[in-house]
């Protein structure tokens, strides 16, 4: 006598799962994820920032690919193609707006993610490499922003890129050469668009994907960092939830809410709002005088303003070079925090580094505000 056919009782998703499992043994992966836990405590909300950054990046990849279908790099075609996208292509305005909004929000959330990791000392051993890859991702994200800013080839982006690329000129020995490499010549021209375009759609995405894969691998292998004051706490007193499905579902819920907010912003403010805006405006013309206000993207404003405050000469060097050295050294110290903060490796709080972090946040916030107030 034959028993009931098990396939008849299974739903379609279950059958698909069984189909994949028999071929790729994904049961092992699900088993691994279902045993993985996420700590629950007063600051658990910070764990979602990384996922949110990833979601915004994915939105950018999707919208970026769609923009790529119509965008034409070049001094004679870039501006015209972007104008065509926003005025003629069906939902082109929406795609450009989503791309720009998600780019800005991604940098903002990435900054938040970095500072929450810093203030919870989640960079401590054994997560030094996760911190490094995270910092690399933030740097790459900002490079995405800088290279993408020029691509519409409008008045503002042209002059801001000229100022931005001109700053590397202050570097000793290699400054001149580096500026030429960036611009593809002495001036910002169609050759610069070609370079920035290649950087924006090929080189940076390739490197970013690689680094994000390593970053996620580290996070998955090492799990979420526990709060520093959980050290010595009995295992039974540590409250946790399963990564799969509990944490992942919450992550998804946040992604859906973020998508709703993105759609709202894209429809009501297609060209951005306030200081975060990207109106197409006039086509870039190197022979016209620069607009009265040249400003970089908001996340470069603190550095831009700090450099403006510097006198022409400071100590024995040019003010601009001093600024570059200052930010270079500052960035290096920030990057090496996991090794410099010895207390954190012993699972102890580090008030000195906490105050250093507060100082950095205050510097960024004050300089950014001054940048907009004084322009």
């Amino acid at each position: 006598m034959q028993g009931p056919d098990p396939r008849k009782k299974q739903s379609l998703p279950q059958r698909l799962y069984r189909w994949a499992d028999t071929r790729f043994s994904i049961g092992d992966l699900v088993d691994y994820m279902s045993h993985k836990t996420v700590p629950i405590h007063g600051h658990s909300i910070f764990y979602y920032l990384g996922g949110l950054t990833l979601f915004l990046f994915l939105i950018q990849v999707g919208t970026g690919i769609l923009l790529l279908m119509y965008y034409r790099p070049g001094a004679d075609s870039a501006y015209e193609s972007v104008r065509f996208i926003v005025s003629e292509v069906s939902f082109g305005w929406l795609i450009r707006s989503l791309h720009s909004w998600s780019a800005n929000l991604m940098i903002f959330v990435a900054f938040l993610h970095m500072f929450t990791v810093f203030f919870t000392q989640a960079y401590r051993k054994p997560r030094e490499m996760t911190w490094f890859t995270g910092m690399a991702l933030l740097g790459l994200g900002m490079a995405f922003g800088f290279s993408g800013y020029l691509l519409p080839w409008n008045e503002l982006s042209f002059f801001a890129t000229r100022v931005g690329t001109g700053m590397v000129h202050a570097l000793p020995f290699v400054g001149d050469y580096l500026m030429q490499v960036l611009r593809g010549g002495d001036e910002v021209t169609g050759a610069t668009i070609g370079r920035f375009f290649g950087l924006h759609v090929a080189i940076l995405p390739a490197v970013f994907t690689l680094v994000i894969a390593v970053h996620l691998l580290f996070v998955q292998r090492q799990g979420m960092s526990e709060p520093i004051d959980w050290e010595g706490k009995p295992q039974g007193e540590k409250k946790t939830i399963k990564f799969f499905p509990n944490f992942l579902y919450r992550d998804l819920l946040l992604w859906l809410l973020a998508l709703n907010v993105l759609a709202l912003l894209a429809v009501f403010f297609p060209d951005g709002i306030g200081v975060v805006h990207w109106p197409l405006g006039q086509k870039a013309d190197p022979f016209t005088p620069p607009p009265p206000v040249i400003r970089p993207e908001w996340y470069f404003m603190f550095a831009f303003q700090a450099l403006k405050f510097l006198p022409a000469h400071l100590l024995f060097i040019e003010g601009e070079l001093f600024g570059i050295i200052f930010f270079g050294l500052g960035g290096l110290i920030w990057l090496m925090i996991p090794f410099l903060d010895k207390n954190s490796n012993l699972n102890r709080r580090s008030p000195v580094f906490m105050w250093f972090g507060v100082l950095v946040v205050a510097f960024i916030v004050v300089m950014t505000i001054l940048g907009y107030l004084l322009e």
Binding site: Y249, L253, N260, L264
Partner: protein
């Protein structure tokens, strides 16, 4: 260390003092040296540094004669060729020694004409100077100055177009000075308020006419009735040509009326508007034409007025809708460009008014109204597109929210 710093600072200050306090004399000739020290601050030697002659390498003796190498004034006066300061009545001839010499001018400034004296003698200024020995009329130095003569292209020059109304007004706006001539002195005041004056003096539009563009430079004279439309037509060529073929020209000639001035005035020419045309009280055409005379001319005026008003309403309506679309964040670059085209057609239609024939205006008005309507329709479509976007957002938002709600309930069940 402190002492070294103090000495260094003092040396710096001394250096700054040396370089900053002494005004170098513009020229090192004996004439300038003596005159600079002995004259007032607005004297010739103080001004000569900006003079185009001095900049071209000419010296004092080239105009005044004498030997500038001598350092005694009496010796200079006695030296060969000394001409000294010319009498006011002699100034035009004094300057023309070089400026009417074609060969000499060709060597120094080939682009400059050599007929200034000839023209000056035909001007009111020149005639009064020659015939009545009137020492108050303008001579070369009245407009060009004596010792800081600059090219009319230089902003500091008294003949630079935006400075010219003040230069002419120096005499012509001075009631006491002009009292004996019996001509008005409000030209400068009126010109400043005129469309030309606002363009030149406020907007710095060097294409706008100054006094000399209508009255002439060296041959300055009020344009006569016969030549007035030719003067205006130098810039307003289309309007002038249309007017020449219009029924107004013979009518104005018959009545001895000046062509353009009759409607537009002279020094205080206002920016024309569509409301000037019509037969109602206060409107320009009503000055000569009656509303109830049943003539073709009156019918034409009403037709032209209605046509321009319709075009104006259509343009304003399109512009209003476009502003609304722009305020909603829609991209209106193409439509703005189209609206500029409508503006251009409107300008052409207003020019066509000078033909004083309603039939020649109608095609332009119709073209403008059609294009303005096209812009308006596109603006309405953009506003509809904006509403559609909001509707689409609402639908998408409801869908996403429902999905989020479902997920939330699922999470609640998991806990």
């Amino acid at each position: 260390m402190k002492t070294i710093l103090l000495v260094f600072t003092e040396l710096l200050l001394l250096w700054a003092g040396i370089t900053g306090s002494v005004v170098p004399a513009p020229s090192q000739s004996n004439c300038v040296k003596c005159h600079f020290d002995n004259e007032e601050e607005n004297g010739p030697a103080h001004q000569i540094g900006r003079d185009i002659h001095q900049q071209s390498g000419l010296g004092c003796p080239d105009c005044h004669g004498g030997n500038s190498a001598l350092d005694d004034m009496d010796a200079v006066r006695a030296s060969s060729g000394y001409r000294g300061v010319p009498d006011r009545l002699e100034i035009p001839v004094f300057c023309s020694r070089c400026h009417s010499d074609a060969r000499y001018m060709h060597e120094h400034n080939p682009s400059l004409s050599v007929d200034q004296l000839e023209k000056y003698q035909t001007s009111v200024h020149g005639m009064r100077l020659a015939q009545k020995k009137d020492r108050k009329v303008a001579t070369c130095v009245s407009c060009h100055t004596a010792h800081s003569i600059g090219s009319a292209k230089l902003p500091y020059s008294s003949t630079y177009p935006p400075n010219l109304p003040i230069t002419c007004g120096h005499c012509h706006a001075d009631k006491a000075y002009m009292a004996e001539y019996g001509i008005p002195t409000d030209q400068l005041e009126k010109y400043t308020r005129s469309v030309h004056g606002i363009a030149l003096l406020e907007r710095g539009d060097l294409g706008a006419p100054a006094c000399n563009d209508c009255h002439g430079n060296h041959g300055a004279a009020p344009p006569g009735i016969a030549s007035l439309d030719a003067v205006c037509g130098l810039c307003h060529a289309i309007e002038s040509r249309l007017f020449d073929g219009s029924p107004h020209r013979p009518a104005f000639v018959a009545q001895g009326l000046p062509m353009c001035e009759t409607c537009h005035g002279n020094h205080e020419i206002a920016k024309p508007s569509d409301s000037l045309i019509g037969l109602a009280e206060g409107q320009l055409c009503a000055t000569c034409h009656a509303a109830d005379d049943q003539s073709k001319a009156s019918a034409d005026i009403l037709k032209v007025s209605a046509g321009l008003r319709s075009l104006s309403i259509a343009t304003d309506s399109a512009a209003h809708m476009l502003r609304m679309a722009g305020a909603k964040g829609m991209m209106i670059t193409d439509e703005e460009f189209m609206l500029k085209e409508v503006g251009q057609i409107r300008v052409q239609a207003r020019s066509t008014v000078h033909a004083f024939a309603a039939d020649s205006l109608t095609p332009k008005v119709e073209e403008g109204i059609t294009k303005a309507e096209d812009v308006r329709k596109r603006a309405v479509k953009l506003i509809e597109e904006y509403d559609f976007r909001r509707f689409g957002l609402g639908i998408a938002s409801i869908f996403i929210t429902l999905l989020a709600l479902g997920l939330y309930l699922k999470i609640r069940r998991l806990v």
